[in-house]
Amino acid sequence: MLYQAIIVALIVWLTVGGQELLGFTQLGRPIVIGPLVGLALGDLKTGLLLGAALETIFMGVVNIGGASSAEPGLASALAVAFAINLHGGLGVALPIAIPIGIIGLQIKTLIYVLFVGPFASRFDTLAKQGNQKQIVALHYGLWASQWFIYSLIPFFAILFGSTATQEILNMIPKTIVNGLTVAGNLLPAVGMAMLMKILWQNNISVYYFLGFLIVAYFQVPLIAVAVMAIVIGVVSGQRDFEMHQLNKKVTEQKSLAAANVQNAQVAGAGNDIEDDDFFD
């Protein structure tokens, strides 16, 4: 059992965590994890079939903080491991694996908000100090440690069996987990505020509210908002460009006029009419 617990935990660490390290490579999908766990536990066939079945179930799941769904990677790893141990099919494995997958997602949120979250400002401080070594170390260190903590779930789940694990995990107060989910949903506000600090100028600030309004009331997908934003940006840019050209012409004429006035002054000795004011 210890061997199985370690190997499954390692697979979860390297696939579910690994797809965060090697971004966007889909290593943590059920279709990959299923056969991998199957191979490690000596039943590739079951792993392959369960992986395919789970991939179909989880195809549409893209986790964005919602506590309602299960984390596909953890759920698949455990489902395959239990199915092989209990010599059962999907019907046996899924009812055990899905609840742990759901709790797994909550634990993931917990780690994300409470453990990794506060380091955002540490990164800022390090950047201010120009401390590159520490930034790199923290960047990798946070990855390794948060996914190590996460992979303890499959480790204990297999070592102590599913019911015991579920009972222990259920001991975390519901309100705290819920509160952290609420906080996780609100925390992007800080990131948005920092972007606004960069982009905000009083003369264009109304556009922020335009963007908010469009999505809030018309539920337009982000891509349509983007195209519209670009149209507005181009129109405004064209007007600014015309103004720029106009300004250039005016300054050219002004310097020309100034030269003329100077000539006139030399010729007409103090007879100056207030020509200059016209251009100001």
């Binding site: 889909q26 991998l36 949903n185 800080v190 908010f212 940006g233 460009f241």
Partner: protein
């Protein structure tokens, strides 16, 4: 690709950027998403372009800002950002704010394109093929799945970075010489602000669960009432409050992050959300 216009050093830097950009979201945080990963991908350029340690620090602080886009699209933005850092390093009165303005205006639109092309279409194709292979017992299914998905993605990442850098190097310096960079910055800031507004609505989420109950009957559904006033009012106000505290009061984001975590737990304990 216009490879021949890039120097050997620049090619090397771009390759380093490609490999480093894999790690964009390794230590993703709720508040700043891939900020540290973006910084990590930019470090080779920063070290190469800037000689003065103070300029280096300034660039590092600049690149540690919020970053979130589709991973396949990120090297393109990194390429453009890197080319602007180069301009900033060589031209003394370059407006450094324009770097973040353009970076920010790009990430929203490219996230939209990337997510629909790669997440929705490509992943569905790859999974569809692999599932049918696996069901017929073909052991190559996971490998085929990874290849179908990753070959196009990696090609976009590899060439996207070079394209971004070449485009940036050609056009940014031209715009700069014409004095048009300020116009571009303003236009980019407008696009950026609209996208940030849109993202605020999509990403900052808050739903009130608490309803006024009288004699076992719900007399007031709080969230419905709030929506009637203005949809997404609470997230908007919280974001604006964060912005106000950050800009006017210079509150450190540490306090903001902990404040929001405490707020989340408190409203959960009170049963509000």
């Amino acid at each position: 690709m216009a490879n021949n216009t890039l120097s050997k050093d620049e090619q090397k830097l771009l390759h380093q950027m490609y490999w480093r950009s894999f790690m964009l979201y390794s230590s993703v945080t709720p508040a700043k998403q891939g900020a540290s990963g973006f910084e990590y991908s930019m470090l080779p350029f920063i070290n190469y372009f800037y000689k003065d340690p103070e300029d280096k620090k300034e660039a590092m602080v600049r690149q540690m800002s919020y970053f979130n886009t589709n991973l396949a699209m990120s090297p393109f933005i990194m390429g453009i950002t890197a080319s602007m850092e180069k301009e900033n390093a060589t031209k003394k009165n370059f407006n450094a704010d324009s770097i973040n303005a353009i970076k920010t205006s790009l990430m929203g639109p490219l996230a939209g394109i990337g997510d629909s092309v790669f997440w929705d279409v490509l992943k569905a194709i790859a999974a569809g093929v692999a599932i049918s292979l696996a069901k017929s017992g073909n052991f190559l299914a996971p490998i085929i799945f990874l290849l179908i998905f990753n070959i196009p993605v990696q090609a976009v990442r590899w060439y996207g970075g070079k394209l971004g850098y070449t485009l940036g190097s050609t056009y940014i310096s031209k715009l700069y010489e014409n004095g048009l960079i300020n116009i571009l910055t303003k236009a980019a800031s407008i696009v950026g602000l609209i996208m940030v507004g849109a993202m605020t609505n999509q990403m900052v989420l808050f739903k009130v669960k608490w309803n006024m109950v009288m004699a076992g009957k719900t007399v007031l559904k709080t969230q419905v009432m709030l929506d009637q006033i203005f949809k997404g009012l609470v997230p908007l106000l919280i974001t604006l409050l964060c912005f106000y505290l950050l800009k006017k009061k210079n509150v450190s984001i540490n306090y903001l992050i902990f404040g929001i975590i405490i707020l989340g737990i408190v409203v959960s304990l009170l049963g509000i959300a």
